[in-house]
């Protein structure tokens, strides 16, 4: 480093020489010379103070960098033989070994997701994971959301500087699924797929709101598919999903008309609370019903955009959140625990 000011330049040279000799290298930052340079600033004519001060700061930064790089070198551990199964001179009883499996856990969301997928596999659905970064076309355009449509306001999406989108729903995969499996229809087989994945909403966090959560999308297309098939499919899934709570009892379901641009008709779907048999409990906020998901018949424009003739084929789609299922199941009080990586939380789910 070249310093304009001669005094600083001389001090720099002096301190660099001293650095080599110092036992405790960090002491260089406490050098008297450095302090006296700072002390000199107020004695200078005002117009010189700025540039003088700047140079002292530069010198200080340079010394700090020296100390840091030295520390890195000093702390660097010796190389090891990365091809060996254990280190040199390690007695047999102190060699690497796994923790006992009673410490191990899978994430409760993933356990639940596997369970959900298992039921849908058995119901004849294949699965594919959703994307975590996508474009406007898949998130909105292919789903019959015109540019500037107010329905877009319901999705507080994260955007990247390039204009890419962190998907706010797993429906971002619908167009791909339709295109990918369109061949099924020609073979006389349905398109039946579930799409789990992470989705994102640009929201502030609290005990009930996460900006990152997980959804399972479902898509089913074939000839002659109607809205009753949709409701029956979801009901059947839920009856199985809650089979251990329900036993022989039959779940009730109900729908409320809703609006999504990508389905018509659209519904909000609720099930009778399996935990209290509609009597009212904490889980269902004493209403007897749990509003679980949005669903509907796939809009003809969405089918068409996926290369499927809506005159010939019809289909349905839904999306629900995994967090909600898990929170209800265990009575989890705060959604933020899921992404906290706290062992206090995770190790409860053996």
């Amino acid at each position: 480093m070249q310093f304009q000011n001669q005094k600083i330049s001389e001090t720099a040279e002096l301190l660099q020489q001293r650095f080599e000799l110092l036992e405790n290298k960090a002491d260089i930052l406490k050098a008297v010379e450095l302090r006296s340079l700072y002390a000199e600033i107020p004695t200078l004519p005002p117009e010189e103070r700025g540039s003088f001060g700047k140079e002292i700061n530069l010198l200080k930064q340079e010394l700090e960098a020296l100390v840091a790089s030295h520390q890195e070198q000093a702390e660097a551990l010796p190389s090891i033989d990365v091809t060996a199964p254990f280190d040199i001179n390690v007695p047999a009883d102190k060699r690497p070994r796994l923790l006992t499996s009673d410490n191990g856990t899978k994430h409760p969301l993933m356990v639940e997701l596997e369970r959900v997928l298992d039921i849908f596999y058995r119901m004849g659905f294949t699965a594919v994971e959703s994307r975590q970064i996508d474009d406007d076309y898949h998130m909105f355009g292919a789903l019959n959301f015109p540019e500037g449509h107010p329905a877009r306001d319901d999705y507080d999406t994260f955007m990247t500087e390039e204009g890419l989108i962190a998907p706010a729903h797993t429906s971002t995969m619908q167009n791909r699924i339709l295109k990918q499996h369109a061949g099924n229809l020609e073979k006389g087989e349905p398109i039946a797929a579930v799409i789990p994945g992470r989705v994102f909403r640009n929201e502030d966090l609290d005990a009930r709101h996460e900006h990152t959560f997980h959804q399972v999308e479902g898509v089913y297309v074939d000839k002659g598919i109607h809205a009753g098939n949709l409701i029956a499919t979801l009901k059947t899934f839920l009856q199985e999903y809650y089979s251990d709570v329900l036993g022989d009892k039959q779940l009730e379901v109900k729908t409320q008309p809703f609006y999504f641009p990508f389905t018509e008709p659209s519904f909000e779907f609720a099930l009778s609370c399996p935990f209290c048999d509609k009597a009212g409990c904490n889980v269902c906020s004493y209403s007897g019903w749990i509003e679980l998901l949005g669903c509907g018949m796939i809009h003809p424009n969405v089918l068409r955009e996926g290369g499927i003739d809506p005159e010939v084929y019809t289909g349905f789609a839904w999306g629900f959140g995994i967090e909600r299922l898990v929170m209800m199941k265990y009575g989890i009080e705060d959604i933020r625990h899921f992404e906290s990586a706290k062992l206090d939380f995770l190790r409860q789910f053996k």
Binding site: V82, T83, D87, R95, G148, H226, G228, P257, Y259
Partner: protein, 854 residues
Amino acid sequence: MKISVNTIRDLNQQYGSAGDPAPEGVDKLVEKIGAQLGAVEEVIEIGKKYDGVVIAKVVSCEQHPNADRLHVCTIDDGGITPDVNRDENGLVQVVCGAPNVRAGVTVAWLPPGATVPSTYDSDPFVLEARELRGVVSNGMLASPKELAIGDSHEGLLLIDEDVEPGTMFADKYNLHGDTIIDMENKMFTHRPDCFGWLGVAREIAGIQGNSYKSPEWYRVDATVPAATSQELRVDVRNEIPELVPRFMALPIAGITVSPSPVWLQIELSKVGIRPINNIVDLTNYYMVLTGQPLHAYDYDKVLVQDEGADHATIVVRKPQAGERLELLNGKEIEPRSEAILIASVTKAIGLGGVMGGANTEVDANTKNIILECATFDMYSIRRTSMAHGLFSDAVTRFTKGQSPLQNKAVLAKITEDILAICNGQIAGEVIDDNHLSDEVMARNSLYPDVTVSADFVNARLGLKLSVEDMAQLLINAEFAVRIESENLTIRAPFWRTDIEIPEDIVEEIGRLYGFDKLPLELPKRTNKPASKDRPLESKAMIRDALSRAGANEVLTYSFVHGNLLDKVGQDASVAFKLSNALSPDLQYYRLSLTPNLLDKIHGNIKAGYDEVALFEIGKVHGKTEMDEGLPREMGRVGFVLAATPKVSEQKYAGAPYYQALKYLQQLLPGDEQLYTFRPLQDASFEGHVLFEQMTKPFEPNRSALVFSGSMLIGVVGEYRPAVQKALKLPKFCAGFELFLSYFEKAETAHEPYIPLPRFPKVTQDITLKVAAECTYQEVHNTMWELLGRREAEALLVTLAPLDIYQRPDDTAHKQITLRLTVASYERTLTDTEVGTLLDAAATAAHEQLGAERL
């Protein structure tokens, strides 16, 4: 969207539209609305608030003896209130502090025992007879605010009609037993008509199987009353008909601005709209009635905007650069360039469809007004509203796309009421700047007729309705339907903006019929098994393997703060940056999983966990990896273990690297010999930017690249001292990060099976002394070359590490002890035979590696 059940009932009756909206009670109605119209957010029993409020007449009003601002009144309640002290004339004494109290006025009295309506929902205040400065007051006389009608509390609510004293307030104003039903707006995104009470009343009738008839005045060919003078001239110049397809305006002269009639104030207050004055209240009333927002400009204020003008000019245009506008809410904005601006010749006077301007506001002195009833482009309104953060009832409605076919009916009807309530006269011809096509105007419907077959509808609903059933459902909601054999040809009523395609009719029929009545049957399917998704399956496999090995699966955010990237030495410029995150913690898409895992170690150790093994399966992204314009999604599995000094000293010796390696080998499928480890310090990344970023937290001389054959599959190792320090990691800390794609390949799924030899194994150990730099792998491979792969001789050979030792006095060398186990499939081997094998191997090791057998 809020409606009052009493109001709907009243409107249905007044206009002969339909019967009682809640013939089976409000609960049943709410249930029906939920099932067939949309989610109900809240049901408020507003009528209860007014139980006990009595309309009374102030008979006398005297100065309070002990307080300047109070009056002592006697009131006549028709003698209906029980248990209250009365004077000899049967009148009740009430002390009142309102400035407008005087003998002769009719007011709302809250007798002892009544609850103040405005406190009903929060902290109910029950009145009693008590002394005020020495004079007993039996309850109180109420202000609008206390009655929860607007927020004026400067004076009493004065009843403006002739009402018999003793009439219950709730009976007079149709509040008795009234319920407000608040429906979710989202359901009505495509239903602008349902942002008006008439629209909701129509739906309520329709879903109950009753037919609805709109009020006579609500018709597309309504007539605005003729002008009685031409004293106010208004010119309208619409420069942006593509954004403003219809702009109607009407000048009205000689109005009196005053508070609205009490009934009107109550109607608005019930649904949460604050009464302001009769003109503003009427525009709001017709907005909530029909969904059509209206605006009134003070004519004279418009006129003075343009110096020397002899008539008002309204220009509908886009704003000019730098133009500013002060809005009714006091906020001054520079309208965005794409906004719809309402202006005089020279000045902005309103933000079209969003909010009026302060400079032309109707106030108590306003005499002449221009009424505007216009249609604005929903997309433009939405963008303007978002850009300026302005949300009004008009915005809520215009952003759903109000039908431009209803403007005339609404303008005609409100004009009638303005003349009746605010006086005034029509002082110029109505202006109707109408850019709708002749076709639409001739059809009285926004879209061409839709024809559907009964089969089309039934197939999509799973029903077997007849064309007649379908037609009746639609006719109930005022659709025009023509039946031709099995086809229905449908013309939507003029207020519907959402009926364009056959599926729209399916939705309509399904909803009016009741989705709750659809047959529940599963789709028919074959018994062909659904194929499982390999990436998801491989994740499940990893999850099983690592959790079985005592590790804990975590999930962490896909987004990271720039500080974390800095701490681990990753290059933020490669990461996708979020441009709009509310939380400052979310800046970049993560480049690898390891930083997040490292970030979670310290907290868990502090929470009391001495030994921690975390793993995550997730995706990473980077700007350098694109596929057809989209970032490639790269699956990874990351693993980190850490132990406090206490535990690591007790349990382990040597570098933590080997502990991570142990986990890695537990996880990797197939034979251990498939995998090789090459020092990270020798790595060259040659443009593999994201892979390089993945290795950034790792210490180059204590980490390795992991290969399966020649395929690179990840990195394993310890972390750089700077990373350890920055993330407060214990010294005993190591981990790995691998590409998920490797696990998705089928051929790695299982280890080959080895048949069991029938003859006994022979075991012999060999110790080789080699140079310290010589790697274990070199020694092992050299020995294996010679000893392994003896299938031709029908031998099964294994070679396992037993010890690696370095004498303290000879750090130039190390000693590696391997255990050879040999079994034959054909015969019993002798020790000598195995010894011979080892001798040969030792000789080769000596020649190739300079190894000395000990």
